[in-house]
């Protein structure tokens, strides 16, 4: 059974409708990419999952119906959402950001272990613990956001445009780490990306959104091979 299942999700920002019935599913342990042009509804889909947008339709995670739950509750169920703009707690230090990541947890041994692991992935963190998060570079903030999400020990990681505004070399590094996290820590990943080519390299499956609906879906291999799909939806 799929770990995450969306059925017919309709969402709007006041009078402006964003999703017109999105259905998708993600299996546990997989990496799935959510692609599409600007305004297609990718970010809104992630918000629908994490409970931060008004919606109708069904969202089921690990058998729990989270369609009407508050974001705080959904986070406690094991879904970590790294939002658009990274949601960095800028006026807090790197260390405090990571502490906030572990907010919902009580197992201090586990938290310590996760912190060590996070420092393995992002070697610069220990030296910069006391630095204000707002003074980090874009790439570092993105890494911090992912590290913070990992401190939640989530079962599902939602990433919104991790590549935005970052140099290609940094993006590759971030995706490498995401793949490692997925394999080693068995974290399911749903990543929203405008940069389709790099997303398809990392993900096994993908959904392409257009105007608030799922237009195409399939394995990355299929999508990468299909010229028509690549040209019309993925832009390359």
């Amino acid at each position: 059974m799929a770990q995450l299942e969306l059925k017919g999700v309709v969402a709007a920002y006041g009078p402006i409708s964003a999703l017109h019935g999105v259905s998708l599913s993600v299996d546990a342990g997989g990496i799935v990419a959510l692609l599409g042009a600007n305004g297609a509804g990718k970010t809104t889909t992630l918000r629908a999952i994490s409970g931060t947008v008004r919606k109708t339709g069904s969202v089921v995670f690990d058998g729990h119906d989270i369609s009407k739950r508050a974001p705080e509750h959904i986070a406690r169920l094991g879904i970590a959402h790294v939002p658009e703009g990274r949601g960095t707690l800028g006026q807090l230090t790197v260390w405090e950001n990571l502490q906030m990541g572990a907010y919902i947890r009580r197992d201090s041994k586990g938290i310590k272990a996760d912190y060590d692991r996070v420092c393995e992935y992002f070697a610069w963190i220990p030296a910069r613990r006391r630095q204000l998060a707002a003074t980090l570079s874009g790439g570092e903030q993105q890494m911090l956001a992912i590290a913070r999400a990992l401190m939640m020990r989530p079962r599902l990681l939602l990433l919104d445009e991790p590549s935005l505004g970052l140099a290609p070399i940094v993006v590759r590094e971030i995706f490498r780490i995401v793949r490692a996290v997925n394999e080693r820590d068995k974290v399911t990943v749903l990543v929203v990306e405008q940069n389709a080519s790099i997303a398809l390299e990392g993900a096994a499956h993908a959904y392409v959104l257009e105007a608030g609906r799922v237009a195409v879906s399939g394995t990355s291999a299929e999508l990468q091979k299909d010229e028509a799909v690549r040209r019309s939806y993925l832009g390359y």
């Binding site: 931060t52 906030m100 907010y103």
Partner: protein
């Protein structure tokens, strides 16, 4: 010269009182960007509770002190959940008026329950002048100042060293991101109100021995507390204490050295507020806030 220093000393003492109420104002403001105009009335109400505990339940001061703080904390949380939460996301003016409405309600209830006759309040410290050099200091004032400094220290430790303190800071600055991390932002707000109410209660219990206890006790203090909070930086607890002392000194000097100064103290408070807001809106210790457009 000695007279000036004496005035400054007594100004520091009264400054401690402004600082303590300012501390409460800052706590609410940090939590939700709103100044609680009813903070003084809440403090007065708490002080009356302690009065009843001392006069009618015959408890000693410090026991009553602790009980009052706990009760005030709970009341602060209750007020936030019942009266402020329904107005989540409402514009500033609405919240201002809600706190003004709260002001009249609490003021009315206090008057209803305890009446308007001025009461004497035996506080924590006995008033005894201490002499050194040619200067007088009162043990009561020293006591008030130490209590304020202890509160400041405790709050500092709370916000910088505890998990909940950190979560409160995160929740007030970044409510949406905090929700995604599992923080119950609404309850953080309630906690902020609870803390503010507790601090306000301490403030009231420190003030009451000095001026008589009556339902309107805190009203002029509220203005100076606002001035102190603005001067120190409306988001900075340390700033509110420094601001409070500064305001105390200024008001003492104005009251003594400017003819008719007593009447004009409130007006001077206004001038301080306006000048600070114009020249340096963040106050002495505040963060220059960046508004996301």
């Amino acid at each position: 010269m000695l007279a000036v220093i004496q005035q400054i000393l007594s100004g520091i003492a009264s400054g401690g009182i402004y600082a303590s109420l300012a501390l409460a104002l800052v706590l609410v403001y940090r939590a939700m960007d709103v100044a609680n105009f009813a903070q003084g009335e809440m403090a007065t109400f708490s002080t009356f509770i302690s009065y009843s505990l001392i006069e009618y339940a015959h408890l000693d001061f410090w026991t009553a002190f602790v009980i009052t703080i706990v009760v005030s904390f709970a009341l602060g949380i209750g007020i936030e959940r019942l009266l402020i939460r329904p107005f989540e996301g409402a514009p500033v003016l609405t919240l201002v008026i809600v706190t003004l409405g709260l002001f009249t309600i609490i003021n009315g209830v206090t008057g209803l329950v305890w009446g308007y006759v001025f009461k004497e309040y035996r506080g924590a410290f006995i008033s005894q002048p201490v002499r050194f050099g040619g200067l007088y200091l009162d043990t009561q004032d020293l006591g008030v100042l130490s209590v304020v400094l202890v509160m400041l220290l405790l709050l500092y430790l709370f916000f910088s060293r505890t998990k909940i303190g950190l979560a409160m800071r995160a929740a007030s600055l970044y409510p949406d991101s905090s929700r995604l991390l599992g923080v119950r932002v609404g309850w953080m707000l309630a906690l902020g109100w609870g803390l503010a109410a507790a601090v306000g209660a301490v403030s009231g219990m420190m003030v009451a021995p000095i001026i008589f206890l009556d339902p309107n006790m805190m009203q002029s203090i509220l203005l100076f507390a606002f001035a102190a909070a603005v001067l120190g930086g409306i988001e900075s607890p340390l700033g509110s204490v420094v601001g409070g002392v500064a305001i105390g000194i200024v008001m003492a000097l104005v009251g003594t050295y400017i003819p008719g100064g007593q009447d004009l103290r409130l007006a001077f408070g206004l001038i301080v507020i306006v000048v600070v807001l114009l020249l340096r809106p963040a106050g002495l210790f505040g963060r220059a806030a960046v508004r996301r457009v």
